[in-house]
């Protein structure tokens, strides 16, 4: 059992992340302190949440390129609401961000579900539209920290048990996802709909609807992250999170979510995101210029998919009963 755990994809990946983490710790002991670990996790929270949403989409053989634009739009929207109605309760604002995000996600989902058009084109389109709409909404103006209310900025920073609320939100998301993907029929449907859509249909799973849910969840999380992003950096502008969608997809791919659908775990996805988080935080500490960060994550994506491709190769159908031949297979 332990052996299986170590050889599993998540096992290998956690070992790599931990080695990196403690390796940097050897050079700079402060890095592995509890407070720094918490801060790395906190820094990575938004990436984790978005990657989990993206995982659902990729599981169902789709892709959501509009997440970053969704973050920008929703972020701008709630920031402006806060700017003009500073008295509005935070709970309402968070609900608003979830709602707007869900709405934008649902638009993607409806196109994919009802018209069965390729998600890459739809989300490429909505990505431009949402980003453009952000401009129309704000007229290109920024919402700066002094235009935001104190609670708007303070909420994600509020510490509970020495971790900011932002981090706790990621924890709650992870737990919810873990449980839903393992124990709810709703969650298992993502695996069946993406693994073999025809068979899923035969088993009574409405594949299109499952894809819609994936986009809905991805959109909802993007909406929440829109608020969190704007509040964390205390500024909202049109180019918020520009290009971040590719980092989100990268986190999924590193975490072993198969781009052809049906394969991927919550744990893998989180570790994939943490990998990027640890690299980002470690580079300055070990004295490597932050300019290396992009190349490293690119290289890691390539290595991860190559490793994936050679381990997950379709095994040939085994016809021979010859025991010698079978031994050869085991040896391979």
């Amino acid at each position: 059992m332990l052996k299986r755990l170590i050889y599993s994809r998540e096992g290998v990946l956690s070992i790599i992340v931990l080695t990196m983490f403690f390796g940097v710790g050897v050079i700079s002991p402060d890095f592995i302190s509890l407070s720094n670990s918490v801060s790395i996790f906190n820094d990575t929270s938004i990436l984790i949440m978005l990657a989990l949403g993206q995982m659902l989409v990729i599981l169902t053989r789709c892709i959501d390129l509009s997440v970053a634009a969704n973050v920008a739009f929703t972020g701008m929207f709630v920031a402006m609401v806060n700017q003009y109605f500073p008295e509005l309760h935070m709970a309402l604002l968070i609900f608003l961000s979830l709602f707007i995000g869900a709405l934008l996600g649902a638009i993607n989902g409806l196109f994919v579900w009802l018209l069965k058009v390729p998600s890459i084109v739809i989300t490429l389109g909505t990505m431009s539209i949402y980003r453009g709409a952000t401009f129309l909404l704000s007229d290109g103006a920024w919402v700066n920290s002094h235009q935001m209310s104190e609670s708007f900025i303070g909420l994600p920073r509020y510490e509970i048990l020495s971790m900011p609320v932002l981090g706790w939100m990621a924890v709650v998301t992870i737990v919810l996802f873990f449980w839903a993907m393992k124990f709810s029929v709703w969650g298992r449907n993502f695996y069946s709909a993406g693994g073999n859509p025809m068979a899923a249909f035969y088993s009574g799973v409405n594949v299109g609807k499952v894809q819609f849910y994936a986009f809905l969840v991805s959109g909802t999380l993007s909406g929440l992250c829109g608020y969190l992003w704007v509040s964390r950096f205390a500024v909202a502008y049109v180019d918020v999170a520009n290009g971040f969608e590719l980092q989100v997809i990268a986190a999924c791919v590193i975490g072993g979510v198969s781009i052809v659908g049906g394969l991927g775990t919550v744990v893998g996805c989180v570790i994939g995101a943490l990998f990027i988080g640890v690299v980002n935080n470690a580079l300055p500490i070990i004295g490597v210029s932050p300019f290396w960060q992009m190349a490293i994550s690119g290289l890691v994506i390539i290595i991860a998919v190559i490793a994936n491709a050679s381990s997950g190769k379709d095994k040939a159908r085994i016809i021979l009963r010859n025991p010698n031949a079978n031994d050869e297979i085991r040896a391979n």
């Binding site: 839903a180 393992k182 124990f183 709810s184 029929v185 709703w186 298992r188 695996y191 069946s192 693994g195 073999n196 025809m198 068979a199 899923a200 249909f201 035969y202 088993s203 009574g204 799973v205 409405n206 049906g262 394969l263 379709d314 095994k315 040939a316 159908r317 085994i318 016809i319 021979l320 009963r321 010859n322 031949a325 079978n326 050869e328 297979i329």
Partner: protein, 504 residues
């Protein structure tokens, strides 16, 4: 006589341009096995899909337990206890055996608000183990499906059908991929289910199965209901007559062609997992039949000859000279061509016009400095498509608009245009109508007459017996027998193919 638990009355199903089911009737009785008989294209699989809610009928009614019902999705029929083991594997390669069995019907933990949100994995494993041992399937519920063999996957499919409290069990050609031994286990299983009072629909091609298992029969032809009755009141000849509306003696236009010198010599062709020690020779003017069950390795051997398989050892000689074939291109250059079983997937580019499909393997020969010679392409297509009598409105019609038989003719035309020496036909008449079938058979005779050699892979016994000069029988990746045309009888061939008495 008890009454039917599940009936279809005057059910129709229309696809654009085709009436797949035309007012058919079917009755299933508890504790009885009903065999559904009909040729390819008779509407059997459409019927199964209508019964399981995958398709919605356009007319007629479905009656379950005396009440008319409507299935809007597979879920609805599943909920009533109607389960099917489909012909193609409809399983999930990346999920465990247990989850494959219970998907769509997960066991849930009992308790507060957990009804939909708490899958009981341990109960699922335990129940799967129980079902698997009841059908003598040896595998762990935790295994990932990808790791299983085809036969084992089939057992998972059966276990899946048994996981619900089924009242109606539909088996769509369940024995096609099974070994002799596995088939007998399946028969026992069907008998057990019958004794439990389940209504069973058994769809098959094989008459021995019908007479060993079934209590009743229903015959379809071309989407229409032909008749039904008790098995004990009928015989094979009567059933065949109902099926095809012609006498049992199908004629195979086999010409006597003078057999020439040896053209192709294959010796000890081996692959690590799929086949071993394949040796045979092929002479000019000869039709070599290769018979074996689905999954016996026959297609794999042919694909190896065509160069699409890696890691193959052994030697292949053409005209006495050793040739090395690692890709289809090299095979084509050496005069070996392959008409694949999966026509639409491997044989043809549906979205391209006929003439472009025909010229595809020899574009480079037809081109001048890389530039396409469209006139030349057209001439080539015209010549070969006319020879094969492809029915189309024009030669730049897309292949997807042709019927299955005409698509197959385009594939054959494409290969003939390359002037091959050996043509391998893998299930050449699978899924095409009777008229085109005869045309393909006739054409095979013509081919060998013009000096080619033909290898024909088929799982249709009459076709093998009717067309071949010599028959190779394969089982589990090995050649288990070679019979001459005069020696071959249906019994000998089948017993060799199912691993029965090996007489050679």
């Amino acid at each position: 006589m008890n009454s039917a638990i599940f009936s279809l009355k005057k059910v129709s199903k229309v696809f654009p341009g085709v009436k797949a089911l035309d007012g058919v009737d079917l009755h299933l009785y508890p504790g009885q096995v009903t065999a559904l008989i009909g040729e390819n294209g008779a509407g059997k699989s459409t019927l199964v899909k209508t019964m399981t809610g995958i398709y919605q009928p356009d007319g007629g009614e479905i009656i379950f337990n005396g009440k008319p019902v409507q299935f809007h999705s597979p879920h609805d029929s599943h909920a009533l206890g109607i389960t099917a083991i489909h012909q193609e594997t409809v399983l999930f390669d990346d999920l465990t055996v247990a989850e494959n069995i219970f998907l769509g019907n997960y066991p849930m933990k009992k308790g507060l608000m957990t009804k939909r949100f708490s899958i009981d994995w341990s109960a699922m494993e335990a129940k799967s183990q129980e079902i698997l041992s009841s059908i003598n399937a040896h595998m762990s519920p935790n295994q990932i499906l990808r790791e299983l063999s085809i036969g084992q996957k089939h057992m998972v499919g059966i276990a899946r059908a048994l996981s619900v409290d089924a009242k109606v069990v539909i088996l769509d050609e369940p024995t096609a991929a099974l070994s002799h031994h596995e088939i007998h286990e399946l028969y026992e299983l069907v008998n057990t289910l019958r004794d439990q009072g389940k209504a069973i629909l058994f769809i098959t091609h094989k008459f021995d199965e019908i007479f060993t298992l079934a209590d009743r029969y229903t015959v379809f032809r071309d989407g229409c209901y032909v008749g039904e009755g008790f098995i004990k009141d009928t015989n094979e000849a009567l059933l065949v007559e109902m099926m095809v509306a012609r006498s049992i003696e199908a004629t195979y236009p086999k010409k006597d062609v003078e057999i020439g010198e040896t053209l192709l010599e294959v010796s000890s062709l081996c692959h690590t997992t799929e086949f071993a020690d394949i040796s045979f020779s092929l002479k000019k003017g000869e039709i070599l039949g290769v018979y074996g069950l689905v999954g016996s390795g026959r297609t794999e051997v042919m694909q190896a000859l065509f160069g699409t398989t890696d890691h193959v050892t052994g030697s292949v000689k053409m005209n006495g000279k050793e040739v090395i074939i690692h890709s289809p291109k090299e095979a084509i250059d050496n005069g070996i061509v392959y008409v694949p079983e999966e026509r639409q997937k491997q044989g043809i580019v549906l979205e391209l016009p006929i003439y472009q499909n025909v010229s595809l393997p020899q574009m480079e020969r037809l081109a001048k400095h890389g530039q396409i010679d469209q006139e030349g392409e057209m001439a080539l297509a015209r010549q070969y498509c006319e020879r094969l009598q492809v029915k189309a409105s024009c030669w730049d019609e897309k292949v997807m608009n042709l019927s299955g038989g005409n698509q197959q003719k385009v594939v054959i035309a494409k290969w003939l245009a390359t002037n091959p020496k050996v043509i391998i036909l893998d299930e050449p008449t699978k899924g095409i109508d009777i008229g085109s079938k005869a045309a393909v058979h006739e054409f095979m005779s013509e081919l060998v007459d013009s000096g080619l050699a033909v290898i024909m892979v088929s799982s249709e016994l009459p076709e093998i017996l009717g067309m071949s000069d010599r028959i190779l029988v394969m089982n589990e990746g090995l050649i288990v027998g070679e019979l001459s045309r005069t020696d071959a009888t249906p019994e000998k061939v089948v017993s060799l193919a199912t691993g029965g008495s090996v007489t050679c």
